[in-house]
Amino acid sequence: MQRNNLRKWSSVFGAAAVVAFAMPSSAQQTKYDFETRMNIESHVGNITGHAKDAKPDYRRYCVGCHGELGDGNGENFPWVDPKPRNFQLGVFKCRSTPTGTLPTDQDLFDSIGRGFDRSNMPQWSTFTKQERTDLVAWVKHFSPRWVGEKPGTPITIPPEPEVTPERIKAGREVFARVQCWKCHGVLGQGDGPSAATLTDDLGRPIAPFNFAEGARPKCGDTDKDIYRIFMTGLDGTPMPSFADNIKPDEAWDLVFYLRTLMSQHSKEKAMAKQLGLKPVDPNAPAGQQ
């Protein structure tokens, strides 16, 4: 019994030490802190989720990566890249809310069901809505951020306009102006001049998205999802929010242009071909793409 307890404690301290070492900015969290937040709720549609109800599911499905303490330090931590999310930090990639703010419960609900392509995070689509909503509350209970802060207000996305060749050309202008190419490359192949130097908040190298490869964006692949991605940014990564640099209408133009860079068939791609659209020229003077 005693040895057991000892082992338990040493693993708690061990894990806490690793967290502290890896993320000097995060305050140490203990099981006691989690207990105090066990009554955290989540709301998705008309369903209310309760953290404590998700405990068995978390242990069964998630703990091997995200860890007993939600610090991303499960037994697979050494073998997985990108690293499992550290829930204690309360920083999330996929949000409908402005950069720096907490995601909504719906955002987390969607992320869990969607999974993260190009990572070990599976699509957890087999749960009932209730179970998934409970898991959202459980994810939240690991971080003190959810006690003091409210989630951000989701950005407003105007209705999607009709795609036209003019809009695609305008989107190309935006792509050049705000310098998406610096990271993503002029062909969107993830090989821009800054690509090799990028690291995420853990200090680990991270590759910009390669549009041409046929991969699914992590935060969803509908037009609306893509709009949201660059207007809110992927927090914890170098992928910034462009909410201050791109107007809502321009943002749709950019979405259409991004479609032309993707390998999947689309009407945007067909239009670009008809236009004979060339990749942006990084050296062209402003406004003369």
């Binding site: 242990r59 999974g115 392509d117 190009r118 070990n120 009932t128 209730q130």
Partner: protein, 476 residues
Amino acid sequence: MRVSSYSRLRDVSYFGSLVLFAVTVMLACSPRANALPAFARKYGLRCSACHESWPMLNYFGQKFKDNGYQLMNDRDAPIWQNPSYWPVTFRITPIWHRVSTGKVMVDTYGSNGAGGSVVTGSTLQRVSNSGFDISGLDFHTGGTLEKNISFYVLPSSNNAAQFHFETVMGRLDNLFGSSWLNVKLGKFELDNLLSEKRILTLTGNGGIYQLYHFRPQGDGNVFGQMGDNQLGLEVMGHSWNDRTRYSAALLSSVDGQVGLPYGSNAYSGFFTFSQAFDTGKAGVQRIGAYAFVGEAPTNWLTQTGPNGATVIPGAVGNKSFSREGFVGQFYFGQHVDLQVVTQHGQDSVWFGQGYGDFIDGVASGNNTTGTTLAAGAQAPSWNGVLVEPHYIYSPQLIFIGRFETIRMSQQSTPGTASNFGNISTYTIGYRYNPFMTSRAGFAWHNEYNWLHQDGTAPDGTNLNTSELLMGFDFDF
């Protein structure tokens, strides 16, 4: 002599049980829980992510399987893996086992008057045996050859290391980009939602689903066993989250025996459909139906076997059989579930009269030209149900119960007692996984089975058999 050696055995087994009990206690006190470890290693998932308790799948694991052992992300293709990764898993089970059979015919002895003994006759008695043993070895390899091209190869041995191919199949997944179309070719397990290959119990009678192998007494149809892996082609499909699923398989009626049948071609089909429902806190409930219908041969072309054979020209003897029923997988929160399978089975009268089994070579008759059936013979039929509740204390500890009963509704031979061959069986057990990681599985397994069959003792009375088993079940 006999008596004392028996009582010694009982002492040994008593001592053995004490030791094993102690092991249980020790294991229960050690720290933290745990299927195809090859998949677990590939994706970094714990056994418990795909298995309710390994080897039984949970819903997430079923979806993974239905996708062709893919999570449907970019990590599925083997090219993503370290080149040294080989998707191999072995499983084996060292055990202690006790079998007690109610009525066995044994010799009786008397003195021969010269200090020796002679056999004086025979009598029925209960025979109980116990001892240490091992299971056979399963050597699983499976996964993807390329994105959307999956495979599974399972050489499996008996406990004397004689191997056969339990499963060999290739599968084209998500044809035309649709999860509704997947094609599998080879030798594979039928699409049984409650999979016997993933059964949680290990004893001789409790380690199979009786419903999946039932044959009326004297019946010659070995071909209708849903529990045996079969050779064929399966088309299956499912909705993206696996709530709706169907499958249709065309099978050679050879009970999974390789090589073209000698002289007679027969095919059967296995069809399933199921639908799952989101019921909030209770979990996902699934109900479905299956039908196994087809024909199988009842004659062979040579009267006395391959050598010195008398050829029977034009002998065609395919006769029909069917098994159909419902399947329910009911969940009551994260700790309790109930698995239910029903069956109505029917064999052609020819099978009922013992024709058919030329695979084992034990059919009592050969349905050649001119053969006639005994007067009044009928097609045998029966009904059965299987109920298996689970209590999942944690992903590391599961308690298992099972009740199966099969009742003849029509006997083939007139005058046969209506309950002849009926089966009732109970199984209880638990599996405890002292650790649960993404690398290997290890379970301490305890199980008791009791099986009752009507009228099948040597003297025509009922036969009861009980089994007790405990051991280590592990895979890596």
